[in-house]
């Protein structure tokens, strides 16, 4: 039962990056289109799940004093694997995400989960936690990407979804749109929570 809880908390209650405001750089940078957000989310999920598994298995071996350095080495190794795999099999997306693939290393969500969860819990809950958080992150990034792509470009996953005379609001796919969109979504989520609290 608790494994299921660990999994589902990443999907709504603690969904990154909306509830846990961590890992904002990739969230803002790559969500110019739904597809890019999804690819970044999946890459992060892979690293998060693998690093959670390995750190959970090694949690009794790693001395406490050097744990952060050890976590960073584990995470960096998986990031290099993702980098090389994407370069080999998915080159166009590798070009689009560019700088932000090596920067998965410094994504605070991954280090945060390693420190707060995987280093203290056995394999199965850690796996569930990593998978839940990863899927939550992917969903958030895809959603944010979809909103920005529809308003800023009139398309969704590259297909035209709005009427033909729609004039794209191109500032939404640039930096100000990213900040505005994330700010409004956070505000709306606070509003939903307030409503739930009032009812419950």
């Amino acid at each position: 039962m608790s494994v299921v809880n660990e999994f589902t908390k990443g999907l709504w209650k603690e969904i990154p990056p909306f509830r846990l405001v961590l890992g904002l750089c990739p969230t803002l940078a790559v969500t110019t289109a739904a597809k890019n957000g999804m690819a970044m989310g999946l890459a992060t999920t892979f690293v998060l799940v693998c690093s959670n598994i390995l750190i959970s298995l090694l949690r009794n071996v790693i001395p406490r004093k050097v744990r952060i350095a050890a976590f960073i080495v584990v995470i960096a190794s998986f990031v290099v694997i993702v980098e090389l795999l994407m370069q080999a099999y998915y080159y166009p997306m590798y070009k689009i995400l560019g700088l932000f693939i090596p920067l998965i290393v410094v994504n605070c969500i991954i280090l945060g989960r390693a420190e707060a969860f995987a280093s203290k819990n056995p394999l199965l809950p850690s796996l569930a936690d990593g998978l839940g958080m990863g899927i939550g992150f992917t969903l958030s990034l895809t959603f944010l990407g979809a909103v920005r792509e529809i308003i800023g470009n009139g398309t969704l996953f590259g297909m035209s979804v709005l009427w033909s005379s729609y004039e794209p609001f191109s500032v939404m796919v640039k930096a100000p749109g990213a900040f505005l969109c994330l700010g409004v979504i956070l505000g709306l989520m606070n509003w939903v929570s307030t409503l739930q609290n009032k009812r419950g």
């Binding site: 405001v21 961590l22 890992g23 904002l24 750089c25 803002l28 940078a29 952060i68 350095a69 960073i72 080495v73 960096a76 190794s77 990031v79 290099v80 980098e83 090389l84 560019g98 700088l99 090596p102 920067l103 290393v105 410094v106 994504n107 605070c108 280090l111 500032v171 640039k174 930096a175 100000p176 749109g177 990213a178 900040f179 505005l180 994330l182 700010g183 409004v184 956070l186 505000g187 709306l188 606070n190 509003w191 307030t194």
Partner: protein, 192 residues
């Protein structure tokens, strides 16, 4: 000389690290509550980014490239940055206690500031020479500081303003950042 000036303006304003390149968001939103902490953080960032860029450039060109180890870039850089931050912290504590008191608490946070790693990787991707790397790193970190201090100024004013209850805190900060990013878009086109 004018090349360096162009590079400086381009890195500091036109392609501002925080507001155009989206790097280092966590400290940007995290420590922009009070002016004195923001200034301390900016100085620490300038110091670490410039130093880290100088070291990682040499690591890339004299260790990784000659031995064909380019694929280890990510691991090598993050380790160099983490060690460097630790070293700087110990050095300042021993030799420049005054500076350590000002920057001390910000140094550990900087390891996970992706602006440091981001600028280090950008130096290599853009094929900069060593001097260009130094100018680019210094200018980028100055740009970071400018954005952080501006943001803090706005947020201090915002604290006394009536904001919708659901928007207080991070959402309001993000919307402020949006306005600031719009303003920085005005620099676009100044340098090609």
């Amino acid at each position: 000389m004018s090349d360096f000036l162009l590079l400086f303006v381009s890195a500091a304003f036109v392609n501002n690290v925080v507001l155009v390149r989206y790097l280092g968001q966590c400290p940007f939103l995290g420590v922009s509550n009070r002016l004195d902490t923001a200034i301390g953080m900016s100085m620490a960032v300038v110091f670490v980014i410039t130093l880290a860029s100088a070291v990682t450039w040499n690591v890339q060109h004299y260790i990784l490239n000659p031995y064909g180890l380019g694929y280890l870039q990510t691991i090598a850089f993050i380790l160099v940055i983490a060690t460097l931050v630790q070293l700087v912290e110990m050095f300042l504590q021993k030799s420049v206690p005054a500076l350590y008191r000002a920057l001390g608490i910000f140094l550990p946070l900087i390891t996970t500031n992706c602006a440091v790693m981001g600028v280090a990787v950008l130096n290599i991707q853009n094929d900069y020479t060593f001097v260009e790397t130094l100018v680019f790193a210094f200018a980028s970190s100055i740009g970071y500081g400018v954005a952080l201090v501006l943001m803090t100024g706005i947020r201090e004013r915002l604290n006394t303003a009536p904001v919708l209850s659901n928007l207080t805190g991070t959402p309001a900060a993000l919307i402020t950042a949006c306005m600031l990013a719009l303003a920085f878009m005005g620099f676009a086109g100044m340098v090609q």
